[in-house]
């Protein structure tokens, strides 16, 4: 079992949410104070270093035109971390390959990071959430096809060492691919792919890459992992899928006592409550298949308030649905274990451990409490090569 400290590097100093339409895409950047932003970066980098000191590994991601994640060029921040850290694995999850025009450039950036970190890179690829297509001016139709062509080309660029090769594909054209440097790790850095749908996970399983899913909870995570295992087996990788092929991202906050844990968990909820985004950014044409889109339109028309029927999000509710593990070390352990068994097991916990107004000392307390009092039990109990989904 590996645990990864993940921070989206949010910029929380915003006007009241009623005063803006969306926290993503069109929120004017005059709300961003460069001095405050720089101080936040100092802090977030420190927190990643503290996570490393505590034995956790490090994860970061990339979003664009949003206050929820002010990291529009994750490879740059990872470059800083490669020099600030010494032993932690460095996971970028990930490169928004469907939204970038030059896959070979991504191959170069990742190879460079692998060299700078002396082989500590874990390289994730994502399709990108719907809100990313406008900032990237990226066509929301056929993103999966672009993603897979780009990923295959990147892996090829990492693993060919005998001079230029050419690629004339459906979406990308390169006549002279011959990257310098090549990666430190051989044959290439571990590849991760995020997918929250069963169809996507199956393909990841066929390739044997690490499958990560974010905040899919009790309801949807099992199906994603089942599909991964089906793809893995169909591709002839054997019957047994080790848990180190599967990752789950949740909000996690641990503290010595219940009241501190509760206070931290409340602040972490910002991740979800702060994500104010109108429907037309959430659901661009082509992002979801027409039949799925049609179903959503039908249910919205039948029940316009359906999405809000459950009332406001609470810590209890997100713990109950498997989006958050929070409490004392014993409570977090028990919540984790219950979820782990429900979904069939996974070997990477991606800890969304900072959000919004969770201050530095609170964030560090959460990291330390988890690393010292929960993590050792998980590592002991769930070895990396434990078989996932036994009997499923």
């Amino acid at each position: 079992m590996k645990a990864w400290h993940f921070s989206e590097n949010a910029y929380p100093y915003l006007p009241p949410a009623e005063e803006y339409e969306s926290i993503r895409v069109n929120l004017p950047n005059h709300h961003y104070d460069p001095a405050k932003g720089a101080a936040l970066y100092d802090r977030f980098l420190d927190e990643w270093c503290i996570a490393e000191d505590e034995g956790l590994d490090i994860m970061l991601n990339e979003h664009h035109q949003t206050a929820t994640c002010v990291d529009p060029a994750a490879p740059i921040v990872l470059g800083a971390l490669a020099r600030l850290t010494k032993k932690a694995r460095l996971l970028i999850l990930g490169n928004p390959v469907a939204n970038r025009r030059q896959p070979v450039r991504i191959a170069e950036e990742m190879a460079l990071l692998d060299i700078l970190s002396k082989g500590r890179l874990e390289c994730g690829f994502v399709r990108g959430v719907p809100f990313e297509v406008l900032p990237a001016n990226s066509n929301p139709v056929r993103m999966n096809e672009r993603q897979w062509e780009a990923m295959d080309l990147i892996v090829k660029a990492w693993t060919r060492h005998d001079g230029p090769f050419s690629h004339e594909g459906r979406f990308f054209h390169h006549r002279n691919v011959n990257i310098w440097p090549r990666p430190w790790q051989q044959p290439h850095p571990p590849v991760w792919v995020s997918s929250t749908s069963p169809g996507g996970a199956r393909r990841v399983g066929e390739h044997g890459y690490v499958q990560a899913t974010f905040l899919t909870g009790y309801q949807n995570t099992g199906a994603v992992f089942d599909s991964y295992r089906a793809g893995w087996r169909a591709a002839g990788r054997g019957n047994d899928v080790p848990i180190n092929r599967l990752a789950y991202a949740a909000l996690v906050y641990t503290a010595d006592n219940e009241s501190d844990a509760r206070a931290g968990a409340e602040k972490l909820l910002w991740y979800m409550t702060g994500n104010k985004v109108p429907a037309h950014y959430r659901n661009p044409p082509g992002y979801l298949p027409p039949a799925v889109q049609a179903k959503m339109l039908r249910s919205t028309a039948a029940d316009p308030l359906g999405g809000n029927r459950g009332g406001p999000l609470t810590v209890e509710k997100v713990i109950e649905t498997g989006l958050m593990f929070a409490g004392t070390p014993d409570q977090v352990y028990a919540q984790f274990r219950k979820f782990y068994e429900h979904v069939g097991g996974f070997g990477h916990l991606l800890i969304m451990g900072q959000a919004g107004f969770l201050e530095h000392d609170e964030t560090v307390r959460g990291i330390r409490s988890f690393a010292r009092h929960v993590y050792p039990r998980l590592q002991q109990e769930f070895g990396d090569l434990t078989i996932s989904g036994n009997g499923r």
Binding site: L134, P140, R170, P285, P290, A302
Partner: protein, 263 residues
């Protein structure tokens, strides 16, 4: 999905690896009608009016209605080639051309390729060219606004034209979302235009009529005037009490203007 379920008089025509749904209605000299980005479903009243005087051929474009969409196809120009081949298949040597919005773009592209084939060309709220400055969109970004705002641009009286999802079959709802997906595929970048088209329209020497609903929020009067300058032989006409989809809001007046022009 069956096209026949939506349009009793449609049939399937295979052009290369595309299966097109094609409506043929009426008698007389042929007229090719090319629908806009919302698909053909709302255009039947308008097509019927044209078909009282002409043999109307009205395909659903690849990816619209129940016409298929091959993996390789992603531009308006690709569709222009398919529809030129459709005319070959139907044995239609020359034909008057009527296109609405996206269909107007396809029509303009077809006419620029085979100008001798189209004696007269009528375009309703056509898109497809970029003539304004680089720091201002010629066409509003319909992919970055709420649905209700788009409807305001499309219609003079959006309340009256409001689609009731509860009255639609699953099949119709899927067609609607698929149309929107194909529209995005074709028009996302460059946005709503082909940078080359404006340099090719000088070939279209046939008489061209440009029509526009007076309340069209997608194609502005200024945009249409600049579009008109690209054709050697052109006139402009405005349809009263209509928005972008003039053929839906004012089918009589729109059909009348076109039929008069084609006479």
């Amino acid at each position: 999905m069956s096209g026949a379920a939506n349009n009793p008089d449609s049939r399937r025509v295979a052009i290369a690896d595309v299966e097109l749904d094609v409506i043929e209605r009426g008698q007389g000299a042929p007229l090719l009608y090319l629908h806009g980005g919302a698909g053909i479903a709302g255009d039947h009243a308008f097509i019927d009016l044209l078909a009282q005087h002409r043999r109307v051929i009205a395909p659903s474009h690849p990816g619209f209605g129940t016409s298929s969409l091959p993996d390789w196809l992603d531009t308006v120009e690709d569709i222009a080639h398919i529809h030129l081949a459709l005319l070959d298949r139907l044995g239609v040597a020359t034909v008057d051309l009527v296109g609405m919005s996206l269909g107007g773009w396809i029509a303009a592209d077809m006419a620029s390729k085979n100008p001798e084939r189209f004696p007269r060309v009528a375009l309703i709220g056509p898109i497809g060219v970029k003539t304004g400055p680089s720091d201002k969109l010629d066409i509003p970004d319909i992919f970055a606004m709420p649905e209700a705002a788009v409807e305001k641009l499309r219609f003079h009286d959006p309340e009256k034209q409001k689609a009731d999802i509860n009255q639609m079959t699953d099949e119709q709802l899927i067609v609607m979302t698929r149309n929107n997906e194909t529209l995005a595929l074709l028009t996302w970048e460059p946005f709503m235009h082909d940078p080359k088209l404006k340099h090719r329209l000088h070939r279209v020497t046939a008489p061209v009529l440009l029509l526009r609903g007076v309340s069209d929020g997608i194609v502005s009067a200024d945009y249409l005037a600049r579009y008109a300058r690209l054709f050697p032989n052109v006139s402009i006409k405005t349809i009263a009490e209509a928005g972008h989809a003039a053929q839906i809001e004012q089918p009589q007046a729109t059909a009348k203007a076109i039929l008069e022009f084609l006479q």
